[in-house]
Structures are given as structure tokens and as C-alpha cells.
């Protein structure tokens, strides 16, 4: 009913000096939560504002279902919106705030009341339902804004970094509320964020943006596991992928792959958590010197390795017994099914099937 389809969408600012969105074709599927993820300045907010009708594209069309809405005003697009700062009516209670968007709807009073109560339960506002919104903490205020945005059952709901300004100790609760809400709603949701954990946690699909274009679109684990580009491999993960430029490291590349491979492969990539580190007496592996080792997330050990001019990071399990004191020589390796190959255009190429 409400796929959102973008055709050849283009947006320039300052007479073409800044291109925010580049000839972009994209479909947000009906009933799906899609996170627009990317670094600051990648064009994700501009893209959402065009979908909302708050910004006019320089070129291209926007469709909701079969309807071309490119020239339709925001208030006639039938969508709900949640912004970084919650939009609520200060003088009113939580319950009144949620009821307000329903005023003009074709519903009986009891239907409206049912809808409000349902949302209060679903979003977890029972304890504050009769309080004024002014006294609420930032997390509850944003929850009220979310309830208001979804109250009318508009087919499309847009979220612009809704958690960014919520107090740190409230973030988790709001995230959990959104996660539950998104699994229950069958609206089409676009959610803009720069935070990969938020996107990985909340999305059905992630549209990864870079420099005005969609770099890769995939479900969260698919995006993380099957990077379509160097950018995607680098951006996802903390730290991101390790890369081995083949031309400058032909021996290391050959040792990693274990057999000759196509010369259209310009770069090998692998995730730091899949780098195995062993003592220098190991029978195989690439020799390296440990430059630094530090405890990281969950007690894992993040090791900076140096093999000639090549720097590689390895993330070892918390209970590792490998000696990784700085200055020590080790050997590192990566299981061949954890290797990624990229061509000179920085796009992934399929790994050829292994012979063995």
C-alpha cells in the first residue's frame, strides 16, 4: 500500500556547489523499518526531508505507492514525524498530547480513547499518563512525541535521530520502546541515524549512505557480514574492517588467500574479530610485531599489529592466552571464509570457491 519509491532523486544546494543527493533510485518497502545510516554530511537528513516534503528535490520524483507526491505539500502527504527534539504541547498532559492528533479523525470518542490507551500501554507511559509533559525527563518526552506521531495510523512514519538528544541513562529504554513498536507497527518507517548500533538494533533494512548515494542496502547482519564496498566494510564495526592493498602486499595477500587469485582483486578485507594471533613459532601465518594492545568492549583485547608497512588490527576474545605485549613477534591469519575481496572500484567481488 505504501512503498516509498524514489526515482532519479537529486538535490543540490548553492547552485550546484553542494550535491546532497545524487541521482538516487531507492524503494522503502511497505511495512518495513529502514534506517538511513551514514556519516555526517552524507545526505541522509536531506533525503528524509525530501520524503517529508520539507525540501524540494532539484530533480527526480517521489512516489508513495502509485501516487506521485513530489509536488504535494507536507501536510497532505499523510505521514507522522519524530524529530531530534520532541514536539509536544507544553500545557497539556501526556494523555491529552497523544489525543490531539486524533481530533480531526473520523473516529468515535470511544475509538479515540481506545487508541490513546493502547498507545500509552504500548509505549510504556502508564505511570506518567496524567502528568503534564513539562515535568517529564527527555526520554519520556520523546516517547510522547513518538506516540503522537503514530497515533493517526498514518501509513508512513519518519524519524530523524530521535535518540540523539535523550539523556544517556534513558536511551536504552527509548530504544527498547522503539524496537517493540517497530515490530508491531506495519507502517513504512524511515529512521535516520549516524549511530550504527542504533541502526543495527532497530532496522529491518539498513540503507547505508555515502556522499549523496546509497552505498549498500541490506538487513543489519547482511550489511555487517557481506560488505558490498570498502566504505561499508570500514564504516560498520568498531574498529572497521582491516584492509590489505594487494599491489603493495602481494606476498601477504597470497599467504592469506592460500592460492593465486584473479588480478582484478585490488584489496583484501577482513574483520578484526576474525584475525587469529599465534606465537611466532606457529607453522603458518603472517609475521608481525605487536605495536600496542588494549582492553576493549567486553574485555576483548584489541591488538595493533605491524607487518612491514601494513597495519592490521585484531580483536581477540577476553579469555585469550596469546602473549601480545608490545614488541613481541607473532603470526596472524584469517580463515579463508572470513576474507572479502574488493576490486579497483572499491566494490566487493565474490570469493572464488575454495579448491579443497
Amino acid at each position: 500500500m505504501a512503498d516509498i519509491r524514489l526515482e532519479g532523486l537529486h538535490k543540490e544546494f548553492d547552485d550546484g556547489d553542494v550535491v546532497a543527493v545524487r541521482d538516487l533510485n531507492l524503494t522503502f518497502k511497505d511495512g518495513t523499518t529502514t534506517c538511513l545510516l551514514g556519516p555526517s554530511g552524507c545526505g541522509k537528513t536531506t533525503l528524509m526531508r525530501i520524503v517529508a516534503g520539507l525540501e524540494q528535490p532539484t530533480g527526480g520524483r517521489v512516489y508513495f505507492g502509485d501516487k506521485d507526491v513530489t509536488d504535494v505539500k507536507t501536510r497532505d502527504r499523510d505521514l507522522g514525524m519524530v524529530f531530534q527534539y520532541p514536539v509536544v504541547y507544553q500545557g497539556a498532559t501526556v494523555r491529552e498530547n497523544i489525543a490531539l492528533p486524533l481530533r480531526g479523525e473520523d473516529l468515535t470518542e470511544s475509538e479515540k480513547n481506545d487508541r490513546v490507551e493502547e498507545l500509552i500501554g504500548l509505549i510504556g507511559l502508564e505511570d506518567v499518563a496524567d502528568k503534564g509533559v513539562t515535568g517529564l525527563d527527555s526520554g519520556n518526552r520523546q516517547k510522547v512525541a513518538v506516540a503522537r506521531a503514530v497515533a493517526r495510523h498514518a501509513p508512513i512514519i519518519l524519524f530523524d535521530e530521535p535518540i540523539t538528544n535523550v539523556d544517556p541513562d534513558m536511551k536504552l529504554q527509548v530504544k527498547r520502546t522503539l524496537r517493540e513498536l517497530f515490530t508491531r507497527l506495519n507502517q513504512t518507517i524511515i529512521y535516520v541515524t549516524h549511530d550504527q548500533t542504533e541502526a543495527m538494533t532497530l532496522a529491518d533494512e539498513i540503507a547505508l549512505m555515502n556522499d549523496g548515494a546509497i552505498d549498500q542496502m541490506a538487513p543489519p547482519r547482511g550489511l555487517y557480514n557481506d560488505s558490498a564496498s570498502l566504505f561499508s566494510g570500514w564504516f560498520l564495526g568498531n574498529p572497521g574492517m582491516d584492509f590489505v592493498p594487494v599491489a603493495d602486499n602481494s606476498e601477504i595477500a597470497l599467504a592469506l588467500v592460500g592460492r593465486p587469485f584473479s588480478d582484478n582483486v585490488a584489496t583484501l578485507g577482513f574483520r578484526p574479530e576474525f584475525v587469529s594471533v599465534n606465537g611466532s613459532d606457529a607453522t603458518s601465518g603472517v609475521l608481525a610485531t605487536v605495536k600496542h594492545a588494549a582492553i576493549t568492549t567486553g574485555g576483548q583485547v584489541l591488538v595493533n599489529l605491524q607487518s612491514g608497512d601494513l597495519a592490521v588490527k585484531a580483536k581477540l576474545p577476553w579469555d585469550t592466552h596469546v602473549d601480545v605485549r608490545p614488541g613481541i613477534t607473532v603470526k596472524w591469519s584469517v580463515a579463508s571464509d572470513r576474507l572479502h575481496m574488493f576490486d579497483a572500484d572499491e566494490s566487493a567481488v565474490a570469493m572464488p570457491p575454495s579448491d579443497s
Binding site: R176, M200, T201, P272, A294, Q300
Partner: protein, 366 residues
């Protein structure tokens, strides 16, 4: 080495703002050549601690010795400390070059000295090609580098950095963490660095001090402080995700929890009964029922899964208690975890660490 005079020595420092005691008899010494990180949660007094060294705040009691001598009567400008403040403002109408050289220009260094210093630090921080731009032509990360470069431009042996990466997106932090560590190594100087981010503290520090309740709770190599914390504040907060508090009592030498008991190994063998707090690191909470030796086991409901890419944080609730588990994303344990599902969890006895009055007193015996 042990008889060398510390570069910085805080002795019995107290500082209050009205009724709010921020530093409470704090002792802290930083040796030359360290990347010393003061880690503490927000409002723990990190900035005040640094500002007292810089001479920007005065202690109510106690002394600060710098390079072996008391600096109580030395003006901030005479202390020869490079400074990167927490909230920096670049001069919008000055070039990057003049922004970086500002401190040197103010103290009337020669043009040649300033130019050499600016180019040296710009090279270190990889912003040489930006020197003739103005701040409005820079990205957020580039501005942050300029601010760090300005703090490093002063040629000296000690630099104070007050949470310089706060608010930056984390791809940028990932890069700057490596850059900062390498910059200090290249200069061979001492950094005193404050942060509220545990991962950042552990990644940067050669020595880390945990600031809580007005004192440095413990100070040592990050590896050691992490693996064997002596203080409650260190184990609780100097890790990501934070350690979980287990509802537990110590009764007749047993650690008693709602999910069973395990024997305790106490530092003082006769302390079989005490008011204790029990902490467990999230990576020790296994999401399956396969105890190996003494362990507590229970059933929990999955509240939320947060996907970090390489790992997942699983938020659980058991008998009204909330806690977290940290699991590598390739673990088979994650397969069945739908939201709201009931799952078995196991915590091995030796993962449970006991504290009393803030000090480590024992742990579970496996």
C-alpha cells in the same frame, strides 16, 4: 626509576564548590613519559583536577608539585603546560595556522619559532594541507584536530587534554585514538588526559587512574586495573558495557544470590559474614546452561539485543533484576534469542567479585 621525582605530584588536594565536595584529600603522581589517563564518570571532578594543575582553579587544601617544585605561586602562563580544553572554540576569522600558533603568538615567540612549531604539530595530526583555511571550511573532525594541535604547539614536556574527543562520531574517535597515542610516542612527552569513556581510557592509557568520590581509587597499567581491580569503582565503571551488580549477601562463607549459592574465597579468611557488593563483568554471563565447576544458574527474559557488529549486548531481566551479557556475534548462543524469550544463564563462581566499603575483599571460588 623508582626514586625519580614525579613530573606531577598532587598531595592531599581538597576542593569544594559550596557544599559540593569535588576532590577530597586526593593524592596522585604522574611520572615522566606516561600517557596518564584520569577516568571518571561525569561530574567526578576530572576537569577540576586538571584545572588545578594548570593554575586555573585553586585547591582549598593541599599542594601541587610540578617538575619537583610547589607551583602554588606560579601563574598559569609560567607553568609551561600545553592544554587542550574540553570545549574549544577556534577563532573564526583567523587561519588554521594562526589558530594553532595562538599561544605562541601571545607570548611573542619569534616568527620562525612559531612557523616551525605549527608545521611540526600540523604534520603530526595530518592537517598540514589545511593551514591556510579558516575554521568554517573545516569538518567537525578537522576542527578537533586543530584544537588538539593548538594545545600541542607549545614546546614543553607536559600536555593536559580534557576529554578532547567527546561528542565526535566514533569512526573519527577510532582514528584519533591511534593518532593521539602515536603523537605522544613521537614527541616522547607526558600526557595527562581526562575522559568519561571507559573504552577510550583503556585504549589510550599507559597508566589509568579511576577518579571517584573525590580521590584516585587506584592507578596502574590499564591491563592490570581491568583484570584485577582492587576498587569497586574500577570494576564497576572502567569497562564497556558496565559490570553488573548481583544481588548477593555473604553468609557463612557462601555468596548467596536469588539463583543459588557458591563458596567465597575471602582475602581475609575469617571474614565469613559481611556487607558486600557483588560485581560481574557482562562477558562472564553465559547464555546457556553448562556450568563448569561452581556457578549460579537461572532463568531470565530477553529484554533487548543491541547489535554492535562484532558483539551483541543482551539485556536480561530475572526476578525483577536487570543485567547484561556481552556475547561475540558469531556465538551459537545468540541463535534462539528472540525478544521476550526465556533463556538460561550461567555465571561462574570466580566471575563474582566482592567489595566492601569500596575495596575488593574476595570472590567466588570455582
Amino acid at each position: 626509576m623508582s626514586n625519580a621525582v614525579p613530573l606531577v605530584q598532587y598531595s592531599s588536594i581538597s576542593k569544594a564548590f559550596g557544599d559540593n565536595v569535588v576532590l577530597d584529600g586526593l593524592d596522585f603522581a604522574v611520572d615522566e613519559g606516561e600517557f596518564a589517563v584520569v577516568f571518571g564518570q561525569s561530574a567526578s571532578g576530572k576537569s577540576v583536577l586538571l584545572r588545578i594543575l594548570l593554575g586555573l582553579d585553586q585547591p582549598d587544601q593541599g599542594t601541587v608539585a610540578l617538575r619537583g617544585s610547589d607551583v602554588a605561586h606560579e601563574k598559569p602562563g609560567d607553568r609551561k603546560i600545553g592544554y587542550v580544553p574540553q570545549s574549544f572554540a577556534l577563532f573564526p576569522d583567523k587561519s588554521v595556522r594562526d589558530n594553532i600558533g595562538y599561544t605562541l603568538i601571545v607570548q611573542h615567540d619569534s616568527k620562525a619559532t612559531i612557523q616551525e612549531a605549527v608545521e611540526r604539530v600540523a604534520g603530526l595530526l595530518d592537517i598540514s594541507e589545511l593551514l591556510d583555511r579558516t575554521p568554517d571550511q573545516l569538518s567537525g573532525g578537522q576542527k578537533q584536530r586543530v584544537a588538539i594541535a593548538r594545545g600541542l604547539a607549545l614546546a614543553t614536556d607536559l600536555y593536559v587534554l580534557d576529554d578532547p574527543l567527546v561528542g565526535l562520531d566514533f569512526k573519527l574517535r577510532e582514528k584519533l585514538v591511534d593518532d593521539l597515542r602515536e603523537t605522544r610516542e613521537a614527541l616522547g612527552v607526558t600526557f595527562l588526559y581526562a575522559t568519561a569513556d571507559a573504552t577510550e581510557a583503556l585504549a589510550l592509557a599507559s597508566q589509568v587512574g579511576v577518579l571517584a568520590e573525590g580521590v584516585i581509587q587506584e592507578y596502574g597499567p590499564p591491563n592490570e586495573v581491568y583484570r584485577r581491580p582492587d576498587r569497586f569503582a574500577s570494576m564497576h565503571t572502567l569497562c564497556f558495557p558496565q559490570s553488573i551488580r548481583l544481588p548477593a549477601t555473604l553468609t557463612d562463607g557462601e555468596i548467596v544470590t536469588p539463583w543459588g549459592s557458591v563458596p567465597a574465597a575471602m582475602n581475609t579468611p575469617d571474614s565469613k559474614q559481611a556487607e558486600v557488593s557483588a560485581l560481574v563483568r557482562p562477558e562472564r554471563v553465559a547464555l546457556r546452561s553448562t556450568p563448569n565447576g561452581n556457578a549460579i544458574e537461572g532463568e531470565a527474559t530477553v529484554m533487548l539485543r543491541e547489535d554492535l557488529g562484532a558483539e551483541e549486548i543482551v539485556y536480561l531481566e530475572a526476578d525483577g533484576h536487570r543485567f547484561t551479557s556481552l556475547v561475540r556475534a558469531d556465538s551459537a548462543d545468540l541463535g534462539q534469542l528472540t525478544l521476550g524469550a526465556k533463556i538460561q544463564f550461567t555465571i561462574p563462581a570466580n566471575a563474582i567479585v566482592l567489595f566492601s566499603d569500596g575495596a575488593r575483599v574476595g570472590q567466588g571460588r570455582s
